[in-house]
């Protein structure tokens, strides 16, 4: 477990370093995620060594969302003022993304994998 924690922190650190060097355009954590993904793919890191800590973090991550959500206390006025726009955009854009992704994937899958058993 301690090896896994060290590796996750190492990749977070490297990701933050890269993020800093490229002017912060991409969050350090996202850079770290890509680096870990590449390191696993190139067999530099053994998947077993980060497995437990990765599952522990991602399975329980919902609890980490609460503090940011509680911020609605501080910005209640802003949300109350624009709630119709916020709700409309959330629902409409979510469904647009859903249908565009589904339609594109289905169309391309049929074109590229015509002989697939699960098509």
């Amino acid at each position: 477990m301690i090896k896994g924690i060290s590796l996750i922190l190492l990749f977070y650190f490297l990701g933050s370093l890269i993020s800093h060097l490229i002017g912060g355009f991409i969050p350090g954590s996202v850079c770290g995620m890509l680096l870990l993904f590449i390191a696993l793919g190139m067999k530099i890191v053994n998947p077993e060594s980060v497995r437990n800590v990765s599952l522990a973090l991602t399975r329980n991550m919902a609890v980490l969302f609460i503090p940011a959500g509680v911020g609605i206390m501080a910005h209640y006025g802003l949300i109350a003022e624009h709630w119709i726009a916020i709700v409309a955009i959330t629902v409409v854009v979510t469904l647009l993304v859903l249908v565009s992704v589904g339609a594109t994937a289905q169309y391309l899958n049929k074109r590229f994998n015509n002989n697939d058993s699960d098509n």
């Binding site: 954590s29 995620m33 609890v63 609605i72 409309a88 993304v97 249908v99 590229f112 994998n113």
Partner: protein
Amino acid sequence: MNNIITSTTAMLLLVVGSYFIGTLLYRKLRSAWVHPVAVGMVLVIATLLLLDIDYETFRQGTAFLDFLLGPTVVALGYLLYEQMAHLRGRETAIFAATLVGGIVGIAGVWGMGLLFGLDETLIASLQPKSATMPIALPLSEQSGGLQSVTAIVVFFTGLTGSLVGPWVLDKCGITHPIARGLALGSASHGIGTSRAIELGALEGAVSGLAIGLTGVTLSLLIALIEWVIG
């Protein structure tokens, strides 16, 4: 006495304990409306108001949880690696569909946001809404959005996809399990994925893959926008 009530220990107990109560309630009622995050948020806000603790004090006490968001995103790299097995031979379809979803999502937020006359702060808060929460929060902050608005919007985005997603996909004739899983994960992150898992194992696995891919796609697209307008 006040020091103990607003201590890091008390604030962490408040968040984790409220979330725990949320999970108990969720197990009992099994409805998306009593999602543990929503219940936890309501309990925390109610407690803070009751004890007259301001938001800044609360944020200082829960800094550790904010820190953990970073390592959690890094850990998603492992899940992405594991789920990549489901991608073989379908790379083009999956990457293209995720990219289309990212562009439609961001263009949709900008188009509708300008139509409603929203300012840049709110648009920046809404922009990463299809990304998984730990990626959406730093993306929002980095482009000048408010994390609290993003948190609420990301949550409702998940709820929307999970509640009506499969029905909308049926109506649009999207029947391929890979397309359905990818759509649910891309549009509504982890909450959509838990719905996709109910539809089938393949749907669930592809949906999980879509969470990481969408997070990366939106990070790159938002970086591109920042670079162009900045």
